[in-house]
């Protein structure tokens, strides 16, 4: 399994940790994390030193400096947060910046205060206080202490060589321990930063929208595939069979009627005719041509015309609808018509539908005996297709009838 985060690198493969890039990433993470704090405190320190007569007017200048300090912290929030996100990329996946309404944190001025803004301000305060202090402490402990030790004994003349070498090596090896310390703090710091920067519900929402988008893409690919199959059959097998039938028909003209050859050719022609008829039925189930050419209304009238039951159809549409909406609605209504013909033979069926306020609604009602299970058979699969479009299916079938199947697809 590839290791994608610092935390995984320490917990899953501590033995290989030092040979990987992770210690250096952790180090870079902490150093990058101190940049903002160093800039702020460095500037404040320089200003305090250079302030004219700072000692005398401290009572006036002090609160002023404090306010300036707070304003800087608050105003730098967008920058600090962006920088923080970038830093997170060093030790794991970069947290996605929030989208849409929640994105107000990127520009705190002129916007109402949102919980996200408070979180971002919190992160900024944290990175100037606890994070900064701990970053510095850890870096000093982990890197500075061994360095100090090595430097101390480097030129120690009182030590003999066999004492000097292990002493310096021992202090130097503390750097390795220090790298573990750096990594441990970096991992912990990153956990906290992520929790503040991109809380769990945001991550779940981002994942959900990614899953929704990929599901829609899958459904679209599925629809495209159906159209492709229909086109391939139309341009390929069907044409060849028609040409074969014509060739056989012409051949038969030359054969004496009633001869064995003429009979054989006629049989061959009958088989071709039957194949063509089966192909037409197949294509109608895959993706009917009329749906491609003329849209939902014409396709539903065609489907109604091919149903055994008498169907009274009234569909009122403003024009063509998106392809996925048309095909989904078409197959749902076809399934409902087939169910009506199967479970309520002889019942008459009414199909009513239209678009109002951007929502396509179609209802299929039969005056059969009712009592249909709401989640039976083919309708279940169609529920999933509807869900992809944010649509819904409702089946209402009291004992004694009538049975109504309703579908709704929003944002048409």
């Amino acid at each position: 399994m590839p290791i994608r985060t610092l935390r995984a690198a320490i917990t899953h493969a501590p033995h290989r940790f030092l040979l990987s890039a992770w210690p250096w990433r952790a180090l870079a993470y902490l150093l990058a994390g101190t940049v903002a704090g160093t800039l702020l405190f460095g500037t404040a320190h320089a200003m305090a030193l250079n302030w004219p007569d700072s000692g005398r007017h401290w009572r006036v200048v002090g609160p002023l400096m404090g306010m300036l300090f707070l304003a800087t912290v608050f105003g730098s929030t967008p920058l600090v947060v962006r920088w923080g996100r970038w830093c997170e990329g060093l030790v794991g996946a970069r947290p996605e910046p929030p989208r849409g309404e929640a994105a107000s944190a990127a520009r705190p001025w002129g916007r109402p205060l949102s919980p996200r803004l408070w979180r971002d301000v919190g992160y900024t305060v944290l990175s100037f206080s606890a994070f900064y202090v701990l970053d510095v402490v850890v870096l000093l402990l982990a890197l500075g202490a061994p360095l100090a030790g090595v430097l101390t004994y480097w030129n120690a003349e009182q030590l003999r060589v066999f004492e000097w070498v292990p002493t310096v090596l021992a202090w130097g090896s503390l750097w390795l321990v220090g790298l573990y310390l750096v990594a441990a703090w970096a991992a912990a710091r990153s956990e906290i930063a992520r929790a503040v920067l991109s809380p769990r519900e945001d991550r779940l929402a981002a994942e959900l929208s990614a899953v929704t988008a990929s599901r829609a893409a899958l459904a679209e690919a599925f629809d495209d595939e159906r159209r492709r199959i229909e086109r391939d059959l139309h341009d390929g097998a069907q044409q060849r069979l028609v040409a074969a039938k014509a060739a056989l028909g012409l051949a038969r003209l030359d054969l004496p009627p009633g001869s064995p050859a003429a009979d054989a050719v006629r049989q061959a022609q009958d088989h071709v005719t039957a194949s063509l008829s089966e192909l037409r039925d197949l294509v109608r189930g895959v993706h009917p041509q009329v749906l491609t050419e003329r849209g939902l209304r014409a396709a539903l009238r065609d489907a109604a015309a091919r149903t055994d039951a008498p169907v009274d159809i009234g569909i009122d549409l403003p024009g063509r609808l998106p392809a996925a909406v048309e095909s989904t609605a078409y197959f749902v209504v076809c399934e409902a018509l087939a169910n009506a013909a199967k479970h309520a033979p002889g019942a008459s069926v009414r199909v009513r539908g239209g678009v109002r306020e951007g929502v396509l609604r179609v209802a299929v009602t039969d005056d059969g005996p009712g009592g249909a299970k709401p989640d039976g058979g083919g309708l279940d699969g169609l529920r999933h297709r509807l869900a992809v479009l944010g649509g819904e299916l409702a089946v209402d079938s009291p004992e004694g009838g009538p049975t109504t199947v309703r579908l709704e697809i929003p944002q048409v």
Partner: protein
């Protein structure tokens, strides 16, 4: 043979050689259709692959008959049918046969809705393999008659069972043949009954369905289709 509004001067009968423009995006089917037509002595003056070329060929050759596919470039939707409708408007005397892998009542109605003396046919593409039947349809369309595929009619009759319950079984049969474009004489021959019997059935159908009995030719077909499509 139905001969309402027959083309003046052509006097087309089954033996008459016709000039024909064929349109289909598939070379295979252009050749198939042309082969059958030529076998019956007709002359294919142009065989084209899309709707624009079809209209151009019709302007250039002034044929007796057009045989066209529905789905053609550039959009691979209903270009052929729309071209057929335009040709029928611009040159009402030209006979038109529209072929398709699938038949739909709506297309037939669109083709017949234009009041033109030229004949019109709407058939499943595979009917070109029933060569004699196809030759008959060609002659009929060239003579100003109407030919509708039996599948169109079957579908419509099957769907509209309840209002047709008023008809006797024999009358339903006659109505189906009327919808396909058959004349009274042809229906009499097909059902092996007398002309008078057919006229009686037709009169009774028109009365029961409240249609105008004076209509003839493709107007009669259209009326029947319109009724079935209600």
């Amino acid at each position: 043979m139905t001969a309402t509004g027959a083309k003046t001067g052509s006097g087309a009968g089954p033996q008459e050689a016709l000039t024909v423009v064929v349109a289909d995006d598939s070379v295979l089917l252009r050749e198939g259709v042309s082969g059958v037509l030529e076998r019956f002595g007709h002359r294919v003056v142009a065989a084209v692959g899309d709707a624009d070329a079809l209209e151009e060929a019709v302007r250039g050759h002034d044929p007796d008959l057009v045989v066209t596919d529905v789905r053609m470039p550039p959009g691979y939707a209903d270009e052929g049918l729309l071209a057929a409708v335009r040709i029928r408007r611009e040159r009402p005397a030209v006979g038109i046969i529209v072929l398709s892998q699938y038949v739909q009542p709506a297309y037939a109605a669109e083709l017949l809705a234009i009041d033109a003396p030229g004949g019109a046919g709407y058939l499943l593409k595979e009917r070109i393999g029933d060569v004699e039947e196809f030759a008959g349809a060609v002659a009929k369309a060239a003579a100003g008659g109407t030919v509708l595929d039996r599948e169109v009619v079957q579908v419509m009759m099957a769907a509209r069972s309840s209002p047709l319950d008023r008809l006797a079984p024999r009358e339903r049969e006659v109505l189906g043949l009327m919808a396909r474009g058959e004349s009274n004489a042809a229906i009499a021959r097909l059902l092996v009954v007398s002309d008078a019997a057919v006229r009686k059935h037709v009169g009774s159908i028109f009365t029961k369905l409240d249609l105008d009995p004076r209509m003839d030719g493709h107007r009669r077909v259209l009326a029947v289709l319109a009724y079935l499509d209600r």
